[in-house]
């Protein structure tokens, strides 16, 4: 679930307004965009890559690893099934408001075919310096810089803010994994945490969670055994119960999904829970200092001079 330079990406809905806009950015960031899908434009080229009738046709023509969907909710089930049956290893589902029964169907199909779903309702995945798949400002050097902190987020906007703060503090990111705001995500906080724990380019992890569900509690169980420092921020401390707070998955139902439950589970696991986003970078710094010298080479010096300038401006 960490995007690499060699990860071959197929964009479903590449010729649409958003599909074109973001695919252009992905290509500019160095992502290996292998092609796109639009049944009506099959056989043509778009943004310099071939357009196929289906993910299956794309796979027959040339292998791809990851399918990325710019597809509206009512058409999402069939498009996802096409990618899964074509043999996509990873399927990034940006679409918000896919009906629950369709999401359940897709998870079953993905499981049967060995496809990892990231999302639904994710902003995608980013690996600074390698590429991205999704709708994140990966081309903005004030937000994304190559670094050694992994970020897991249920929210694109808040994830962006956290990445901005990490870049300002000269950490940058090893990988951003947007797991999305759907109530039934294909990749859980815990699974993303395990991936970043295994990743040799990651020295510390930030979990950006929110109220609703029990994913943060489940991730805490894994974090308790980790050597790498983990810092968390949980949005929705003030959320009233039984209200969907923007994301379908961000809802306190009965005694489940509360801020207090997540915070206490994470703290019991030794995770520092920040009260505000601005505290995250400092908590990472403290966690790394406590842990001693990192296993691998760690650079706290930003490569982009403009960021240093901005840091000086603020101090």
């Amino acid at each position: 679930m960490i995007l690499r330079k060699q990860t071959r990406v197929l964009v479903q809905g590449i010729t649409g307004k958003q599909g074109s806009f973001w695919s252009g950015k992905m290509i500019a960031c160095g992502t290996s965009v292998a092609g796109g899908v639009n049944p009506k434009r099959a056989g043509t080229e778009h943004l310099g890559v071939p357009v196929y009738a289906s993910a299956r046709a794309a796979m027959d023509a040339q292998a791809f690893d990851l399918a990325l969907m710019f597809i509206p909710p009512a058409a999402a089930k069939n498009a996802a099934l096409d990618a899964i049956e074509a043999g996509a290893k990873t399927l990034v589902v940006l679409t918000e408001h896919i009906p629950l029964q369709d999401v359940l169907f897709l998870h079953a199909a993905a499981k049967a075919n060995g496809t990892r779903i990231i999302g639904p309702n994710t902003a995608g995945i980013v690996t600074p310096g390698e590429g991205f798949a999704g709708i994140m400002p990966a081309d903005n050097p004030r937000i994304f810089q190559r670094g050694r902190v992994g970020v897991i987020s249920r929210s694109g906007s808040l994830g962006t803010l956290v990445c901005l703060n990490l870049t300002r503090a000269a950490f940058g990111q090893s990988a951003f994994i947007g797991i999305g705001g759907d109530p039934i995500p294909g990749t859980s906080t815990r699974e993303a945490l395990e991936a970043l724990d295994r990743d040799n380019n990651t020295d510390a992890v930030v979990i950006v969670g929110e109220i609703g569900g029990t994913m943060e509690e489940e991730a805490a169980g894994y974090a308790a055994g980790m050597k790498k420092p983990v810092v968390a921020f949980i949005a929705g401390r003030l959320a009233p119960p039984h209200k969907k707070m923007g994301h379908a998955g961000a809802i306190i139902a009965g005694n489940r999904g509360t801020y207090a439950s997540k915070r206490s589970a994470l703290e019991a696991a030794g995770v520092t829970v920040a009260n505000m986003p601005r505290e995250i970078a400092e908590a990472i710094r403290a966690g790394l200092a406590e842990q001693g010298p990192p296993r691998s080479e760690f650079s706290a010096t930003p490569k982009d001079g403009s960021i240093t300038q901005r840091e000086e401006d603020r101090s």
């Binding site: 629950l100 400002p137 906007s157 986003p277 601005r278």
Partner: protein
């Protein structure tokens, strides 16, 4: 989107051929008395409100005469039950219960699949039962390629004395969960009668809001949510607005960032006036959103916090500036703008409003909290 009991029974269970008691929906005491006569004997009067535990709150009461049924109905229409005004009551025949069970189907995030829950402790609140006696709840994750057939149903209910009646009922319930785009379909209690047949005494059905477009009949029957006037007008404009008690108004994009802005207002000593997010496709609706946010009486300051990923901050800032120039509101506003389109957005706020966005989001929130004091 919750359906009231009578609608859930009528539109979901009846269609699934799951037995329900004979019943009549009534809107006045006179209708209630007539319904009692039509049912011909002892009956139960049930307040139709979107809440559980109605029995404890006096929302489910038995009547042996038509006059008594009308009297109970009148009391329910006059006095709110669990803070809900009662517009209708369901009059149902009283059945002779041999045993009560609990059954439900819902989606489980960890399993990424539907789960069927079953318990012999029917009539209990399932969350309380899960806390006090978790062993009393049996749970089966459903493999969607198989669904719930005889084998799957038997694994849950095979050992109970009423297995023969329960098996087909579980199969029908699961089919109804799928076919009706349910988030939750629950029968509690499910009564077994002396003759071995099953009857659903209550039904809770939550329609998946994302599927409302393909379930128009169910969506139309859903109980209206309790919303303030401002929340209603925002909903009509396709916006997620939640009114809160405080005086620091906020506008942000994306669920996570908006919740964080709200929390930070509180962390820094203020009280948020609302939750208003314009993430996803709604980022083009900043102008309307701001008008809703500022319409709340008592707002003393506003924080605008944008962190653009998909949402373009320049488009959002354009909307905010347009609304500001139209409304000319008399409240101080504090901006923080980062992400997609930020250079253009910041320039716009500088030029048109003469304001300098804060570099750090918490500083903008702090300034708004101070201004509201």
């Amino acid at each position: 989107m919750n359906l009231l009991e009578h609608a859930a029974k009528d539109l979901v269970l009846r269609k699934a051929a799951i037995p329900i008691p004979r019943g009549i929906l009534c809107h006045t005491p006179a209708e209630t008395a007539a319904a009692f006569q039509a049912l011909g004997g002892g009956c139960v009067v049930k307040a139709q409100i979107p809440a559980g535990k109605r029995g404890d709150a006096g929302g489910i009461r038995f009547a042996e005469t038509a006059a008594r049924a009308a009297e109970i109905a009148r009391a329910m229409f006059d006095e709110p039950v669990q803070e809900h005004r009662v517009d209708s009551v369901l009059i149902e025949e009283k059945v002779a219960i041999a045993k009560e069970y609990y059954v439900s189907v819902l989606a489980d995030a960890s399993a990424r699949a539907p789960v069927v829950l079953f318990s012999e402790e029917g009539g209990s609140d399932i969350e309380e039962l899960a806390a006090s006696n978790p062993a009393a709840i049996r749970r089966a994750v459903v493999d969607l390629s198989r669904g719930v057939g005889e084998v799957e149903a038997d694994a849950l209910v095979g050992e109970t004395p009423h297995a023969a009646a329960l098996r087909p009922l579980l199969m029908k319930l699961f089919e109804a969960f799928r076919a009706n785009d349910a988030e939750l379909l629950e029968i509690n209690p499910l009564a077994m009668l002396a003759d071995g047949s099953a009857v659903a005494l209550d039904c809770k059905f939550t329609l998946d809001a994302a599927a409302a477009y393909r379930q128009p009949e169910l969506a139309k029957a859903a109980a209206p949510e309790r919303m303030t006037a401002l929340e209603c007008s925002a909903r009509e404009a396709g916006l997620t607005y939640i009114e809160l008690e405080g005086n620091v108004a906020l506008l942000a994009n994306g669920a996570g960032l908006t919740m964080t802005t709200m929390d930070t207002v509180s962390t820094l000593g203020g009280q948020p006036a609302n939750f208003q997010e314009i993430g996803g496709e709604a980022y083009t609706k900043a102008e309307t959103a701001l008008k809703v946010v500022l319409a709340k009486p008592g707002v003393r300051s506003l924080v605008v916090n944008f962190c653009g990923a998909f949402a373009r901050t320049d488009v959002m800032a354009e909307g905010v500036v347009a609304a500001w120039e139209t409304l000319k509101p008399d409240v101080p506003v504090f901006f923080s703008i980062h992400g997609t389109g930020d250079d253009k957005a910041i320039a716009l706020v500088r030029e048109r409003l003469g304001l300098e966005p804060f570099d750090v989001m918490e500083d903008a929130v702090h300034a708004a909290v101070e201004a509201a004091r």
